[in-house]
């Protein structure tokens, strides 16, 4: 724990929302408005307790801060060990903030099993914060896996017509990946002489063959979660069927768990394998950027379009990691945070329209600006951010990654830069078809503009997008130390002299 912080802020950030979730489950028979109010209170409090972590963070230090460490299991030797560094710092408030948005998003559209609905989101929020804070491999795995269960229920209970299919596919895809990671964790525990400390693993010298296997095992877990092409097919299904708030959390945070895994595990633990396989990773990332970008272009369902655009954006993130430069990694991290705001906002916008008309087909809309001018303005901003317009958050990450990619290899940079064109194409073309033009049908003519709750949620997101786009310095400043430490680790071969 930092000497100046009196309270275990990380534990609070994890357990406060979970406690509120359990409280909601226990309150049977409470009125709908009481449940909503309590859920919102829990989400807001959980967001507030993450603020001291940001304000108390020392950007000069590279190591973990706000460390809490207690013995959890004696044999096998695991610890309840939490801490944040410059890489994980921003995801803690981002998760809590997104949960507030998610609670607001389901305010009216969810009518049944309300307490369970909000409890799922609050518990999920705590578990995801746990993933970002865990400094112990086993603790990480427990949080990582446990997040599946609330999301499975969110999609399966409150989702659309094909929700069951989507929920089961989501669960089995991600579980298949993470079980291989479990074997890798057990192997590392033995190799490190009985330690689950991620820091010990990062220092561990390993020959090439195990490094490659470890890298592939982690790849299986994280590639599914990110998701990378070609294991991305669960994501469009899950997004389309999930309720609005589920999509928001899925896109904004859950995808980041996979990308975060790459920086926390794959790169520092198996650096030589990462270099060896970087060609493959860059190839997969570029396929995601270009091919999936084209796939997004032809979608007729708005949610599916944004889902594919998420995959393309996450391809950018993985590209940034595997060009091994400070600019690339920081750009990728900035892209992750920005994508958290922007994709969340896009799904929220679609949810706003869906709540009113119950359709997500682009063809069912047109001329929405005539009836919902305020909404159209917000969506304009987010669509622009989605295609990386300067002065929005989307620009920061994409620009840095392209810069890094060009330094690495001009052609890779060139191909990556097509995302600027493709992103603009699918985002703005959708925006044009939905928002502009003449009023398409009576349903659009009857639309009501934003109410105060929707306005609040979208304003918060808009403020975040603009703030990050105009003044990203504090964001990247906090990362510098940790990213430099990470890259020096990645640059340093772990191969034992004399072994293959």
């Amino acid at each position: 724990m930092n000497p100046d912080s009196a309270l275990p802020w990380l534990s609070l950030s994890i357990w406060l929302p979970i406690a509120f979730g359990v409280l909601l489950l226990a309150l049977r028979g409470a009125g709908a408005s009481a449940i909503r109010a309590l859920a919102l209170l829990g989400a807001v409090l959980a967001a507030l307790v993450t603020l001291p972590i940001v304000s108390g963070f020392d950007p000069g230090a590279a190591g973990l801060q706000f460390v809490e460490r207690f013995s959890w299991i004696v044999r096998p030797n695991a610890h309840y060990h939490l801490g944040v560094d410059g890489i994980s710092l921003w995801f803690v408030p981002l998760t809590a903030f997104t949960t507030v948005i998610a609670v607001l998003a389901g305010w009216k559209s969810i009518g049944e099993r309300l307490a369970q609905y909000y409890a799922s989101f609050l518990i999920l929020s705590g578990l995801m914060v746990g993933v970002f804070c865990a400094a112990d491999g086993l603790l990480f795995y427990v949080f990582f896996e446990a997040t599946l269960i609330p999301m499975y229920l969110i999609i399966g209970v409150w989702g659309g017509p094909r929700r069951v299919y989507a929920a089961v596919k989501f669960f089995l895809y991600t579980l298949a990946g993470s079980l291989l990671m479990l074997v890798a964790l057990v192997y590392l525990y033995q190799a490190a002489g009985g330690s689950f400390e991620i820091a010990d693993w990062q220092r561990l010298a390993l020959p090439m063959a195990p490094q490659i296997l470890l890298f592939l095992a982690f790849l299986a877990a994280f590639a599914v979660k990110v998701p990378m092409w070609p294991v991305h097919t669960w994501l469009p299904d899950a997004h389309v069927e999930a309720p609005t708030a589920g999509s928001v959390v899925l896109a904004a945070i859950m995808l980041k768990l996979g990308a975060y895994g790459f920086v926390r595990f794959s790169l520092p633990i198996a650096p030589d394998a990462a270099h060896e396989l970087s060609g493959l990773m860059i190839f997969l990332s570029l396929v995601a950027v270009v091919y999936v970008g084209f796939v997004a272009l032809v979608q007729t369902d708005m949610k599916k379009l944004v889902a594919y655009s998420s995959i393309a954006h996450m391809g950018f993130v993985t590209l940034g990691f595997f060009i091994f430069s400070p600019i690339g990694v920081e750009g990728a991290l900035a892209q992750m945070i920005s994508h958290g705001f922007v994709s969340g906002a896009m799904f929220l916008c679609i949810g706003v329209m869906y709540d009113r008309t119950h359709t997500r087909n682009i063809a069912d809309y047109g001329g929405v600006v005539n009836t919902m001018p305020r909404f159209a303005a917000f969506m304009m901003l987010f669509a622009m951010a989605n295609c990386g317009l300067p002065a929005t958050s989307g620009f920061v990450g994409e620009f840095l990654v392209i810069l890094g990619a060009v330094q690495f290899d001009f052609f890779i940079g060139l191909i990556a830069a097509t995302t600027m064109v493709l992103g603009a194409a699918y985002s703005l073309w959708m925006y044009k078809r939905v928002i502009f033009g003449a009023v398409a049908n009576p349903a659009v003519a009857a639309l009501q503009d934003l109410d105060a709750r929707e306005f609040l949620a979208l304003s918060l997101l808009a403020a975040a997008v603009l703030w990050m786009g105009i003044h990203p310095a504090p964001l990247t400043d906090a990362m510098h130390g940790s990213v430099a430490a990470l890259l020096s680790q990645v640059a340093h071969s772990k191969l034992i002299p004399g072994s293959p």
Binding site: L25, S71, W72, I73, V74, R75, P76, R113, Q116, L138, Y141, V142, F143, E145, A146, L148, I149, Y152, L153, G156, V157, R163, V164, A167, V168, F171, L172, L175, A176, L179, L180, L182, V183, V186, Y187, Y189, Q190
Partner: protein, 496 residues
């Protein structure tokens, strides 16, 4: 403490024997109306025996032998016995309404359950091949009776018949194997057996043949493939409370006898039985998990799931052998013990939910019968979800740590070659397992109820199911207590 006749070593068993007889007798004198008296008496007996069993758990308690080293009482036996007692008590609590509705609410039900428990406890504490066999027969005979308790039910009679014929065959196998060990070494005492094999030139051929029969017998009792054919049939056909008892408590005894005979008695043959167990484990995990996918009957599915779970248990048992030496990896046996205890806790909860939904003339044993349970009662749907996640081995339930410690034992330092492949295989099949456990969760949460009548749940049942669910969850968050207990107990049993 005179090892020739040490009553304190067998105090729990002696007490249970007396109380079981008392229940049987007392029930003759109370009419059907006050049958609750017998139930209360049986529960009180279990509580009393549990309290007495706790003795060896105190720190520094010595290992006690009784009856000329035929009987052993230490921390390991205490933990296993307590788990068996808890499973038995859960079976009686959960089975209450079911038994009342089906004319099973009779003294025999309680008495037979207590006698079966006595057999289980005897096996757990046995330190002599003959005592193991006695305990085994007591348990098996009580269970034959319990399975057939509903005389007029076709399914139950069929299950009882199958169980009896195959069970007798398995007992024969085990006895035959024991006789070969006796023939080769001239002793029935397990410590003397190990000592004899260690000391003199072993009659290897006889010993290995005997071990084959013993492994087959243990495989049958655990329900490991290819000796698993009875498991799904009996689980499906037996009255649900009996299936609960059968699925949970005897597994402790099977683990105990496997530990006593193989690990303590035949460490010199470890390389041989390790290979046998590996075949059994892989076959169980594969057959159990794949076949369970195709089941529509929940009890039958749990039967196949048990087969798969027992494969995992065998993996832990065989992981403890390194280069023929079994003593240096107590962690693996601790993992196996933790696995069996947590498995029975989770399985008892599953059957508890089936019993909760059953009513007169309705068994609730189809997976489809759970449809929409989350709407009828989110609380019990939550409990069942925890049980399913635990059996599937997903965090944050205790089942995750059970599977995790087994995997960890498999790839631990100095484990034999090929263990890593076994671990990967086990992990891949647990993905198959996740599919069918998850289907139950899906049915409960995502589908609409066919039967929306409110559930009639007694206060005791509510309490027991809640405690069961909470235990599965809390042990999954802070497992150290139980893991430490199991590891410590095994370490002491191995003389560490």
């Amino acid at each position: 403490m005179d090892p020739t006749f040490n009553l304190s070593a067998i105090l729990p068993e002696a007490l249970l024997l007396g109380l079981a007889c008392a229940v049987l007798l007392a029930d003759l004198f109370v009419g059907a109306r006050v049958r609750n008296f017998s139930y209360g008496f049986a529960m009180a007996a279990l509580a009393l025996v549990a309290a007495v069993t706790c003795g060896p758990l105190t720190v520094g308690a010595p290992v006690e032998y009784g009856f000329g080293y035929m009987f052993v009482s230490d921390a390991m036996t205490a933990v296993l016995k307590l788990a068996a007692i808890v499973a038995c008590a859960l079976g009686l609590v959960y089975g209450q309404a079911y038994a009342r509705d089906r004319d099973m609410w009779r003294g025999e039900f309680f008495a037979l359950a207590l006698f079966a428990l006595l057999g289980i406890m005897t096996m757990i504490s046995a330190n002599n091949l003959l005592v193991i066999y006695l305990g085994l027969e007591l348990q098996a005979l009580s269970f034959y009776g319990l399975v057939a308790l509903r005389r007029d039910d076709m399914r139950a009679s069929e299950a009882a018949m199958k169980y009896f014929v195959l069970g007798a065959l398995a007992s024969g196998f085990l006895l035959y194997g024991m006789s070969m060990l006796y023939g080769a070494t001239g002793t029935l005492d397990i410590n003397a057996l190990a000592h004899h094999i260690n000391g003199g030139p072993p009659e290897r051929w006889e010993l290995v043949t005997g071990t084959i029969f013993i492994v087959a017998g243990i495989g049958f009792k655990l329900g490991a493939a290819p000796f698993h054919m009875w498991v799904p049939d009996v689980y499906q056909g037996a009255p649900t409370p009996v299936a609960l008892l059968l699925a949970s408590a005897p597994k402790m005894a099977a683990f105990a006898i496997a530990f006593r005979i193989l690990v303590e008695g035949l460490p010199q043959l470890a390389v041989d039985w390790q290979r046998m167990l590996a075949v059994l484990a892989v076959a169980s995990i594969a057959i159990g998990n794949v076949t369970a996918v195709a089941q529509t009957n929940l009890k039958r599915m749990l039967g196949f799931s048990t087969v798969g779970q027992m494969g995992f248990l065998l993996l832990a048992l065989l992981a403890g052998v390194v280069g023929g030496n079994t003593a240096i990896t107590a962690g693996a046996y601790g993992a196996a013990m933790f696995y069996v205890v947590t498995y029975s806790l989770s399985t008892a909860g599953c059957f508890g939910i089936i019993l909760l939904l059953a009513r007169e003339g309705f068994e609730a044993d189809q997976i489809a019968d759970l449809r929409g349970l989350a709407r009828r009662s989110p609380w019990y749907a939550g409990v069942m979800t925890l049980m399913m996640l635990s059996l599937a081995g997903l965090p944050p339930t205790v089942g995750f740590f059970a599977k995790f410690v087994v995997l960890q034992a498999l790839v631990s330092d100095g484990a034999s070659a090929g263990m890593f492949e076994l671990a990967v295989l086990a992990v891949l099949f647990s993905l198959v397992g996740a599919f069918y456990y998850l289907r139950v969760v899906k049915v409960m949460w995502f589908e609409d109820a066919v039967d929306s009548r409110p559930l009639a749940v007694s206060g005791e049942m509510r309490l027991a199911l809640g405690a069961n669910g909470l235990a599965v969850l809390l042990l999954g968050i802070v497992p150290q207590g139980l893991i430490g207990l199991c590891n410590g107990a095994v370490l002491r049993a191995l003389g560490g």
